[in-house]
């Protein structure tokens, strides 16, 4: 009987700690994904400013040089431009909408990206650089906040998972 209880205690503690760890881990996804998008915007800026690469080609190059989810963002956007069904701003918004539902980016992060859609590709390279830098700065500030939140919440959820398990064990005993 003692061993059965011991196994039960171990299972409860492992389970709750794992759940806490998973929630804590989610907090680190957002800064990582924001970093991926910020780097990709920098690469896009270079393609626009130095090579004057047409947007669909530039986006495919950015996608090839990026990690998830920026690679998906730019690959889908390149496809939408080539499709020629809708205005470019609308195509960008749809892709940003996909980012909101499929990645760890928050509504505010996606809003910063969506605002870029109003000007993307529509002006000279100097103006394009300014818009890209503004978006990058906004996302970088979101990332700072998300890193701080990550530090705080990761520890909190790790402890919470373990302590919840401990409390459950005490109650059940």
């Amino acid at each position: 009987m003692f061993y059965v209880k011991l196994i039960g205690i171990a299972l409860i503690l492992t389970g709750t700690t794992a759940v806490g760890w998973m929630i804590a881990n989610n907090y680190s996804r957002r800064p990582d994904q924001l970093q991926s998008v910020i780097i990709a915007l920098g690469v896009l800026g270079s393609e626009i400013n130095y090579s004057h690469t047409p947007m669909p080609v530039a986006c495919r190059r950015v996608a090839a040089a990026s990690t998830y989810p920026a690679n998906q963002l730019f690959l889908r956007f390149a496809g939408s431009i080539e499709d020629r069904q809708r205005r470019i701003g609308a195509a960008w918004n749809t892709v940003v909408g996909w980012m909101f539902t499929h990645t760890a980016l928050s509504r505010a992060d996606c809003q910063a990206l969506a605002d870029l859609g109003n000007t993307l590709g529509k002006t000279g390279s100097d103006e394009q650089m300014k818009h890209l830098e503004t978006a990058s700065r906004r996302l970088a500030s979101h990332r700072e906040q998300s890193l701080a939140a990550m530090e705080k919440n990761r520890k909190l959820w790790m402890y919470t998972g373990f302590l919840t398990g401990l409390a459950l064990v005490l109650v059940l005993l």
């Binding site: 626009i48 004057h52 690469t53 047409p54 947007m55 669909p56 530039a58 431009i81 499709d83 020629r84 069904q85 205005r87 470019i88 993307l120 590709g121 529509k122 002006t123 000279g124 390279s125 103006e127 394009q128």
Partner: protein, 336 residues
């Protein structure tokens, strides 16, 4: 008014490689489908697709024009159900022809046109954004003119003998003069092709030709390869201002003939003189209705005074685009 109501519904598909289909690939899907569905007879004579904000879209043929209605084409250019060029459609056309990359076309926007692969020209007008006294770009597009470039092999057959200098196995300095839309570029391209290929019967060996294709219309270079037949001995410098391009070709490609479109600026004229002095023949075109009009243009006059050109080809649309009205020598005497 005669109306081809069913034309769009029962059209045979255009052959792949048709210039109209080539243009359609760079237009919004809705507009591309209209062009792709045109009857072959209409597509073959289509010269321009005109969009004017808030007014009916017009397909301009060589001798007719059509509007597009819900059910087909109409000879009446403003029927009630005509497809209208909304500002939204105009903005979308700019996005698709520029592939969402206005930043890559700043110079073109300043000049008011974009050249599509294949040499098709998209002319733009609207509200000019001026900075420091110079037009920077265009906003609020009011008009878009999509001109379909066609390669017509043999277009120069009628004039080529007049511009060949048999004695020296060379080509006379030649200026093609015409108002817009009379086939200057087509004639220039085919002349370049024939000179580059050579014609032993005419005593013309194939000559090294250098084309300065500032607007990418003559050769339609795409990733370095010309989209039109410009001959086997032809080198192209694409997208370069004419005067710089001519000097660059002289230095690098040792051409025997330099070809360029639409002379106008003073530095273009200076470069033509440079080429002539370097012993290189020049084949060029200029916008004007007659030789007298050319002479009245301040920038061009010096060229005529110095007898920079020995042959003048005057074009019109009297019998359709490319009608040769006259071929004149340096004294203005008719040769044809």
């Amino acid at each position: 008014m005669k109306t081809d109501r069913s034309a769009l519904l029962h059209a045979a598909p255009l052959r792949s490689g048709d210039p109209v289909l080539e243009v359609a690939r760079y237009l919004p899907r809705a507009l591309a489908q209209i062009l792709a569905g045109l009857p072959v007879a209409v597509a073959n004579q289509l010269e321009e697709v005109r969009l004017r904000a808030g007014r009916p879209l017009i397909l301009q043929g060589s001798s007719r024009e059509w509007s597009v209605t819900q059910t087909g084409l109409s000879d009446d250019i403003s029927p009630l159900d005509a497809l209208t060029a909304s500002p939204e459609l105009m903005a979308q056309v700019l996005e698709t022809v520029s592939q969402g990359s206005v930043y890559a076309l700043e110079e073109e926007m300043r000049n008011g046109f974009i050249t599509l692969p294949g040499g098709h020209r998209v002319g733009l007008c609207g509200r000019a954004v001026v900075a420091g006294g110079e037009m920077k770009t265009l906003s609020d597009l009011a008009g878009i003119n999509i001109r379909i470039a066609r390669e017509i092999k043999g277009a120069a057959d009628g004039i080529i003998t007049s511009i060949v200098d048999r004695q020296n196995q060379a080509v006379y300095n030649t200026l093609i003069v015409s108002p817009p839309g009379c086939g200057k570029t087509t004639l220039l391209r085919d002349t370049a092709r024939q000179i580059s290929t050579g014609n032993p019967q005419m005593g013309l060996p194939g000559l090294k030709v250098g084309i300065v294709d500032e607007r990418s219309e003559l050769a339609g270079l795409r990733y370095g390869t010309p989209q039109h037949d410009i001959g086997p001995r032809t080198d192209v410098i694409d997208g370069c201002p004419k005067s710089q391009g001519m000097m660059l070709l002289l230095r690098t490609m040792s051409p025997q003939v330099v070809v360029t479109d639409e002379l106008g600026r003073a530095d273009d004229v200076a470069a033509v003189v440079e080429c002539s002095l370097a012993g290189v023949s020049v084949l060029a075109s200029a916008h004007a209705a007659s030789l007298r009009d050319v002479a009245q243009r301040k920038t061009m006059a010096p060229l005529l005074e110095r007898q920079g050109f020995s042959r003048f080809i005057i074009l019109s649309r009297r019998k359709g685009p490319g009608t040769v009205e006259a071929v004149l020598d340096e004294n203005g005497k008719g040769l044809l």
